[in-house]
Symmetry: C2
Subunit: 336 residues, 2 copies
């Protein structure tokens, strides 16, 4: 007999069920995992025993044996913004239905800690990995490759994804907004950008496309990430003295845009007449506030869902596309 552990949990294990049902443990395992390969009568008897004993399978043990943890690790900067909570929600829901659980890690935008965070997750032997962003150090790329599990990157685009990617090019977004403004006859531009890689990429795309239209962009100090309504209000106050007679402002999110709209109204700056404002993200607040805010819509939930589906496909032996660009579109509303 064992000389260790108290076994105090008194937890029912597969051998208990097997003994009680008069079958081998392997048969109980089959009832649980491949019921169609067990005769109806055996299956029912075992199932009844499982219910009667209140047996809760141990997937830690099962995972060790089968080398499949049925867990997926997800790393996002934060879930305090719809930008990431929407994808995570959809990702989790989709995997849930397939029997996979999500281990969630929040990077708090600390890209320097990415390697350690990923390493910590790999320790759990997830069957797949979701990453936010597509910029990784060579060390991280090697780490990911050595893990031999499917990896999806979301919310960004790169020519060479580590494995699979579901995202879009943020510089293109900025450029598209610049074109949109230019088409409306704007010649003065401003930007309120968050300091995260993707916010900066949108800004960069905006700035260089504005330059192509012969304009320049005035800016406030970079906002913290995630940026909120207050950042939009402060940012606009900072920008106000430099505003021309008619300026077009790109904000790093609808929250920031809402703050800018609110502050502009307070300061007596007419929107959109004197200040045209475009947000990003198509959040609830921009859709339902007054005035409704022009924005760039990206379907975050779809990204999360597709990321999950691709991961599932790969784990099922399929070969989903390695690079999916999701569409974005400008939704003109009352602030432009």
């Amino acid at each position: 007999m064992s000389t260790r552990r108290t076994g105090s949990t008194g937890a029912v294990k597969i051998t208990d069920v097997a003994a009680a049902a008069g079958v081998a443990p392997m048969t109980v395992s089959r009832v649980l995992n491949t019921p169609e390969r067990v005769s109806v009568e055996t299956r029912e008897r075992v199932q009844a025993t499982i219910d009667r004993l209140g047996y809760v399978p141990n997937l830690i043990a099962g995972g060790l044996s089968s080398r499949r943890s049925r867990m997926i690790a997800a790393i996002v900067p934060t879930i305090a913004s719809p930008m990431f909570s929407d994808p995570v929600q959809a990702f989790t829901d989709t995997l849930d239905h397939a029997g996979y659980r999500v281990i969630l890690a929040l990077s708090n935008y600390n890209d320097a800690g990415e390697e350690a965070l990923i390493r910590a997750m790999l320790t759990r032997r997830p069957d797949g990995l979701l990453l936010t962003g597509a910029q990784h150090t060579p060390r991280v790329q090697r780490l990911l490759r050595d893990a031999h599990i499917p990896v999806v990157e979301i919310w960004d685009a790169t020519e060479q994804p580590v494995d699979m990617l579901v995202g879009f090019d943020h510089a293109e977004v900025g450029a598209a907004v610049a074109d949109f403004f230019a088409a409306q006859g704007h010649t003065h531009f401003a930007s309120l950008a968050a300091g995260d890689p993707r916010g900066l990429a949108r800004r960069a795309g905006f700035v260089s496309q504005v330059a192509r239209h012969g304009g320049t962009v005035i800016e406030a100090a970079a906002l913290r990430a995630p940026s909120g309504i207050a950042d939009g209000r402060h940012g606009l106050r900072e920008l106000a003295p430099a505003l021309g007679p008619r300026t077009a402002l790109l904000c790093s999110s609808d929250l920031v845009a809402f703050g800018a709209v609110t502050e502009a109204r307070q300061m007596g700056i007419a929107v959109p007449e004197r200040l045209a404002i475009c947000g990003f993200g198509d959040f609830d607040i921009g859709r339902n506030s007054e005035p409704p805010i022009t924005t760039v819509s990206v379907d975050g939930a779809a990204m999360g869902r597709i990321a999950a589906e691709n991961l599932l496909a790969r784990m099922a032996g399929g070969s989903p596309p390695s690079r999916i660009l999701v569409p974005f579109r400008i939704i003109p509303r009352a602030t432009t």
Copy 2:
């Protein structure tokens, strides 16, 4: 030799490190888990070998052996609202620093599925469990007790927590708001409540306290949960015809309140003169919109953090309080 599995991963395991470093596997394990119990020279040599081989420990195996998964399961209705994303964020951050990972499950407010969801989580043998709400069927209570792991319930209060609780009484919140309105001389009341158990509890507390003040409450149809800005707008439109000359409205969240404020403004209903509005949750939007919205503040992040700390304390053998009531307070702003 083994007759199974390809071992294709080629993953470095603890025995590989041990062999390469010229020590027993157990010594490698100690370097990883209790480095202070290994001599400096041995430790450094082993650590160097670990780095050189790129060894990533397998906590699935370690967990099976030690009977500690170092994972905590968290079940919340959704992370699409700050109501729950704040606690989850703080919970995850706190546990993270202690080496625990969070497995996240979203119930989507489906209380009927709670048992199945918990059972699915227990399958992973978490070392602890976070639950949202404190109403559970007897079957669920038994399941939780049989699991023999610490459990924290948050966002609600009950006399008899399953194990530990960090929350507050929602009926008290409703009653406090009723008192607040009554003290301002209000005699006509309205409510826009979400259909989840806690939203309904706040409404019930509001209604009965209003009755105590001799008033009655007019209501729209229950809002879906989670409710958003649009629900507030629609709700107010529904309520408008029944509004008295001066009505005090309690909304189930600041999002709903913001929607009500926005719609009232559109309809030419003066806030707070003709319609006083109080939200719930002290969200960013209520603080930073114009007018700022009166609300009930509850520190969701603190709940998440305390929940994590209590779990950690219990896992460390301590006996944290089994019932912590966190304070809530009404923050009067411009809508009342």
